[in-house]
């Protein structure tokens, strides 16, 4: 799966948790999921679980702890798929 495809899927996942969809329209790899998209920490746990389902992978605690931005999530999925 290409970086672009992973990014699109992650944005689609985030769409279910971001109240202001306009924030996602201008999202970049540097967009901070909690601060910029105003997702709360409990929803970030839900997002990680959803990523496991969508990408068919397991994300452990240390890996989850490193996800701050959209780019972090994309990179992690790329690494796990490699």
């Amino acid at each position: 799966m290409s970086e672009e495809q992973i990014t699109k899927k992650i944005i689609d996942i985030l769409r279910g948790y971001v109240k202001d969809s306009a924030l996602l329209e201008k999202a970049t790899p540097k967009t901070h999921i909690l601060k910029d998209l105003r997702v709360n920490s409990a929803r970030l746990v839900d997002i990680i679980i959803k990523c496991e389902d969508v990408f068919g992978t397991m994300i452990d605690d240390d890996e989850a702890d490193r996800i701050a931005t959209i780019g972090d999530a994309v990179l992690l999925i790329q690494q796990k798929a490699a």
Partner: protein, 217 residues
């Protein structure tokens, strides 16, 4: 400055409902011991969010001194005092054992919200000013961050006997890290903790630290 962190959870917010039945969420967030206590509680969802708020409050407190401290929820272990474990009381006490040390914990549990406060010691936590407020309007017309900042500044203005306009909340340029308060352009030593979720907003700070940051050496 003594560490302080607080967190409020709206029990009726859509994403917070029936979470005690979400085994993957619970498995990722809570230790086996915490899960057993939640499962046996009179109000499992209330206690689940009380434990969550405790972990969040503790993370906010310890991450001030160490912004790189891990945020893995299971590494923040909530231990309630004996007699609290059923989660039936409106007020719970205990501690949170964190990667950055042990913190004292107080939890308020109502039908609508839970609020957790974490601080460095019993003496510190008794001194801390904390408020949970229902956000006016409760709709998208009120920016929750602006609401909680306004509530905090009104309380500090009352204590300093100054106009609210003399105060402002500042954050790091990257938007990360704990907020601080400026008084007539000077940074106050006070570490403040802000939180909002759904219909509710909360703040906490140590009134003893409402002095210029320059005075703290």
């Amino acid at each position: 400055m003594p560490p302080v962190g607080n967190d409020v959870v709206d029990l009726a917010a859509p994403g917070n409902l029936d979470k005690s039945g979400d085994s993957r969420f619970c498995g990722r967030v809570f230790t086996a011991e915490e899960r057993a206590i939640i499962a046996g509680a009179a109000r499992p969802d209330g206690l689940l969010w009380a434990f969550w708020a405790a972990k969040e409050a503790a993370y906010k407190a310890v991450s001030r001194a160490d912004p790189a401290v891990c945020s893995i929820p299971r590494q923040y272990r909530v231990v309630l005092d004996t007699g609290n474990a059923a989660g039936t009381a409106a007020r719970l006490a205990g501690k949170v054992i964190t990667p950055g040390g042990e913190l004292v914990l107080r939890i308020a549990l109502t039908a609508d919200w839970v609020h957790a406060l974490a601080a460095g010691s019993e003496e510190d936590i008794e001194r801390i000013c904390q408020h949970v407020e229902l956000r006016e309007g409760t709709g998208s017309d009120v920016n929750p961050s602006a609401f909680v900042r306004g509530a905090l500044l009104r309380e500090i203005a009352r204590r300093l006997d100054c106009p609210v306009g003399d105060l402002s909340v500042v954050k790091n340029p990257d938007g990360l890290g704990a907020p601080r308060v400026l008084f007539r352009g000077d940074l106050l030593a006070a570490e403040v903790s802000l939180s909002h979720d759904g219909r509710f907003a909360a703040f906490a700070f140590d009134p003893a630290t409402l002095i210029s940051a320059d005075c703290t050496g």
